[in-house]
């Protein structure tokens, strides 16, 4: 009889014990939006440029480059027309259109005139002239396109920005840089050992990355056209670099005796100090746009979850609760959301959420692994790596997950990091403006 009572007590206890577990489990069922487009895009007309005879085209034509920029930008819907067509532009609500003229110069260059017009009145809003060798036509058109964005949106565009990523070359991972659209790839590292995790130093002067030449992960920096310099050699294994957008200081992970901590240091003097004293392991740091707070990953709950704290190590909060593997957060330049990678059933996918972890939106789904999201400096786009085609390649999508465009074609490419703005002289858009 007593045994019976005990049994019931045990069952009752077991039921009670289960309750909190179920309450926790319900966290796993937070509603997630999958790729609902919330983007406001503006129609814009694009008309092929008038061409002088005798241009031997190897590159895309100017209007094709502008069309690609407009499609990638996340700001426009292209209304293509062979010539100016008011009826078409008006029906498609394209209030503006771009066109121009291109002719060959005597010394083998191209003279390009680029125009932005108001469709109804044919008022010229913007005119630019570039004389460039054909191989630099793309960059000239990117420069014009960013001027168009500034004219129409009052914000800086990203057509002149670049992306650093890791490319497997002759079997070895090397750091490379290309224009944001994947063209003009330049190899930065030429080591026989793995190079990885590139990030941009302030002013886009160079990169910080990890190399294995000393048989361990260690940070190096290299200004473009200069030689490489090892960083923070007083630490054992260093990786996960994050450049402070205000001071240029480097926040990074260092592992010693199985414990991984965050450190922050000055790349010039080589001095560094521990960033936070936490019992857990911490990695993947990311600064807020004005460097007041830091996102990072901690394994204090067993698996990786995203946390945030002040730059002085105060006010630690957990951000992600859904799922068991949330890693590598990055703060949107507009400051209002974070992008991160989550693993579910062994597959990696990209999500964004609000700073308190609510309002989760899944951006990639059912297309291989998708990881390493990096924001464009205007916050409109996210570049990432995916093996949806069979090999890892770099893609760009809008911040709502729509309009996925592949920008690398061959080999294996991973770990993209977007540069800062290239036209530093333009005023910074106001905080919170869209």
């Amino acid at each position: 009889m007593i045994a019976m009572k005990n049994l019931w007590a045990a069952v009752a206890f077991a039921l009670f014990a289960l309750l909190p577990v179920q309450a926790l489990a319900s966290i796993d069922t937070i509603a997630v939006d999958v790729g609902i487009s919330v983007f406001k895009t503006t129609p814009i007309g694009i008309v092929p440029f008038e061409e002088s005879a005798g241009i031997d085209w190897i590159e895309e034509r100017p209007h094709q480059i502008l069309t690609r920029d407009a499609n990638l930008s996340g700001r426009f819907d292209v209304v293509a027309s062979e010539k100016f067509n008011l009826a078409l532009f008006s029906r498609a609500k394209a209030k503006h259109y771009m066109t121009g003229k291109v002719q060959a110069t005597n010394d083998g260059k191209l003279a390009v005139e680029c125009y932005l017009y108001v469709s109804q009145s044919k008022t010229l809003l913007l005119g630019e002239r570039y004389t460039v060798p054909q191989k630099e036509l793309r960059r000239a058109m990117h420069a014009f396109f960013d001027k168009v964005i500034y004219q129409l949106w009052g914000e800086r565009g990203v057509a002149s920005t670049r992306i650093a990523y890791v490319s497997r070359i002759d079997g070895v991972k090397q750091v490379v840089v290309s224009d944001y659209d994947g063209f003009h790839r330049t190899q930065i590292t030429r080591d026989s050992t793995i190079s990885m995790m590139p990030v941009w130093t302030k002013g886009n002067k160079g990169l910080v990355y990890v190399n294995f030449k000393t048989n361990r992960p260690r940070l190096y920096t290299k200004n473009f056209g200069r030689s490489e310099k090892p960083l923070f050699q007083q630490f054992d294994q260093t990786y996960s670099p994050a450049v402070n957008p205000v001071t240029g200081e480097l926040l990074f992970s260092s592992s010693k005796d199985g414990k991984t901590d965050l450190y922050v240091g000055d790349m010039e003097t080589g001095k560094a100090r521990k960033f936070a004293y936490l019992k857990s392991n911490q990695t993947s740091p990311a600064w807020s746009p004005y460097a007041t707070e830091v996102l990072f990953t901690s394994d204090r709950g067993g698996g990786p979850q995203i946390f945030v704290m002040g730059k002085d190590g105060s006010d630690l909060r957990r951000v992600t609760f859904m799922g068991r593997y949330n890693e590598r957060a990055s703060w949107s330049p507009e400051g209002d959301r974070i992008a991160y990678t989550s693993m579910d059933n062994g597959k990696m996918n990209i999500y964004t959420c609000a700073l308190d972890g609510s309002d989760i939106v899944q951006l990639t789904n059912n297309a291989g692994n998708n990881e390493h999201p990096t924001w464009s400096p205007d916050g409109k786009l996210i570049a990432f790596a995916s093996n949806r085609s069979g090999t890892y390649q770099i893609y760009i999508m809008r911040k709502d997950g729509s309009n996925v465009t592949r920008i690398t074609q061959a080999g294996e490419n991973t770990a993209p990091t977007w540069s800062w703005f290239y036209d530093e002289n333009k005023p910074q858009p106001k905080e919170g403006s869209k």
Binding site: K173, I194, M196, M197, F212, N215, R216, P217, Q237, Y239, S240, S253, S255, D257, G258, K259, T260, N281, T283, S284, T297, D299, G302, G303, P304, Y325, E327, R328, T341, M343, G346, M348, E371, H372, A415
Partner: protein
């Protein structure tokens, strides 16, 4: 100008002489029981020459045995090193705890290291291809550390062990199968011999 040529000639002659000396000295260093007495004896009788030859052949025999012993020792060490380097320790997904099988295997490695005090090791922690590069570095570091802690408890001095994480960067098996993943979630060893 002439002086420089002269100096050059003299110095190159000196070099040659040195090389020649070195060559002449070599055979003398080999036989263990040789030296001044042998030099004196050289002018003596044929009997002495005979004992000399015997001593020579004995010494040669000794040298051959030494070489053989060294070679055997080298082969033994090589075999041990290979054994240690082939003893990969495997882990469960996103875990750094040692499995029972891993502990058995590490005890064998610990035994070898206790016997061969000259061995120092680098413990490399690895992960499978899933997950981010960053987190996998921390996971690999944790795995290497768990192995190091086990061996330290087994009696290996910490000064003989170094741990390093390769994250997911150095897979042993390619592919996206559980088979490949389980092969890659591992810690392995590099062995150095302390001089």
């Amino acid at each position: 100008m002439k002086n420089i040529v002269k100096i050059a000639l003299i110095s190159s002659a000196a070099c040659l002489a040195l090389v020649a000396c070195a060559k002449k000295q070599q055979p003398q260093t080999d036989p263990a029981a040789e030296g001044a007495p042998a030099a004196e004896a050289s002018q003596d009788s044929a009997a002495q020459a005979l004992t000399q030859a015997q001593a020579d052949s004995l010494a040669a025999e000794q040298a051959r045995l030494d070489a053989e012993r060294l070679e055997a020792e080298r082969a033994r060490l090589e075999q041990l090193i290979n054994q240690i380097m082939s003893e990969d320790v495997y882990f469960d997904f996103d875990r750094s705890e040692l499995t029972e099988k891993a502990k058995e295997l590490l005890a064998q490695v610990g035994e070898l290291l206790l016997k061969e005090q000259r061995f120092t090791i680098t413990i490399e922690g690895h992960t499978d291809a899933r997950g981010t590069e960053d987190y996998n570095f921390t996971l690999g570091a944790k795995r290497a550390m768990k192995v190091k802690e086990f061996l330290a408890a087994y009696g290996i001095e910490n000064s003989r062990m170094e741990s390093v994480s390769y994250g997911k960067e150095a897979p042993k098996a390619q592919g996206e199968t559980e088979e490949a993943y389980s092969q890659n979630r591992r810690a392995n060893f590099r062995v150095n011999i302390k001089q």
